[in-house]
């Protein structure tokens, strides 16, 4: 599907793109959008679980990025910088939601139901795995099946690389609660995927 016509080859690499952004070229901003919007949108969507909110975060992120490009320090990559802005925006959004109920009524210990039930080996090798539609949808479904209180911790700690301390501060939780929730989230995801994964590969 054709979008607005823009020659992406104007900026063959990130350094050239950065130069364009610094010079305030509109094409550079468009190019940055095209290159990074899918990443930011997908992450915001996983964090918030709501398409409208994710789109709002996406827009806020790029408005800030195009606006305040001068605050970008080259220590990190452009994607990392954008993602940090998006994470902050998404966390503010989460706090606005008043979801303290769901986040605090959770038992802060491994529950019997969390213990591994399915003890079959998985033939899949993640390093060589092809992320086809079926695998993608299995992973998304399992993630969506987690309670938000576990999903958000998995998201921040596991995928976004926040430290236990940072995640605890962001969510207003104790550090031990963050640790337990991360563990529970991993165990639950493992269990949710186990039936599919144990069978996967037998027909590959």
């Amino acid at each position: 599907m054709p979008g607005p016509t823009i020659d992406l080859q104007v900026y063959p690499n990130e350094a050239a793109l950065l130069e364009g952004l610094r010079a305030g070229e509109p094409d550079a901003c468009t190019c940055m959008v095209k290159r990074f919007a899918p990443l930011i949108y997908t992450k915001a969507l996983r964090m918030l679980g709501d398409a409208d909110e994710a789109e709002n975060i996406l827009q806020q992120t790029f408005i800030k990025a195009c606006d305040k490009f001068t605050s970008f320090e080259e220590r990190s990559g452009l994607g990392t910088w954008l993602y940090r802005i998006a994470t902050n925006e998404a966390l503010m959004q989460l706090r606005r939601r008043e979801y303290t109920d769901t986040i605090e009524t959770l038992d802060e210990a491994i529950q019997p139901a969390d213990l591994p039930q399915n003890l079959q080996a998985w033939p899949i090798d993640p390093a060589g795995a092809v992320l086809n539609d079926e695998l993608r949808s299995q992973l998304e479904q399992a993630l969506a099946a987690l309670p938000e209180s576990l999903r958000i911790v998995f998201r921040l700690r596991e995928l976004d690389g926040l430290s236990t301390e940072e995640a605890a501060a962001a969510l207003g939780l104790g550090e031990s609660a963050v640790k337990v929730r991360l563990h529970r989230a991993r165990l639950r995801l493992r269990e949710l995927l186990a039936d599919y994964m144990a069978g996967e590969g037998t027909n590959v």
Binding site: K43, A129, L159
Partner: protein, 87 residues
């Protein structure tokens, strides 16, 4: 000695399960690490839990690094919002 102890030594495995998490993060104390590694060579069930847990984490990283295409309209609305296209 049996090389699997799903039921006869389940409490022990349960304790180790808690350590698997820290082990996966490289946060487990060295002596406990050693003990756990020893157990993993000996206990088929725990070994499978560890392997599949590690695979779970890796698969989600893989998913995260490969976002799907952005839904139609989202990019267009974004560009419009940034005044990068005339509508």
């Amino acid at each position: 000695m049996s090389n699997t102890h799903t039921h006869d030594n389940f409490t022990r495995c349960q304790q180790l399960l808690g350590q698997l998490n820290e082990y996966a993060d490289g946060e487990l104390a060295i002596d406990l690490c050693h003990e756990l590694e020893l157990h993993l060579t000996d206990c088929t069930d725990c070994k499978i839990v560890f392997d599949t847990l590690t695979k779970t984490i890796k698969l989600y990283h893989l998913l995260d690094e490969n976002p799907e295409a952005i839904p139609a309209g989202v990019e267009e609305r974004l560009l419009r919002r940034l005044n990068l296209v005339s509508s």
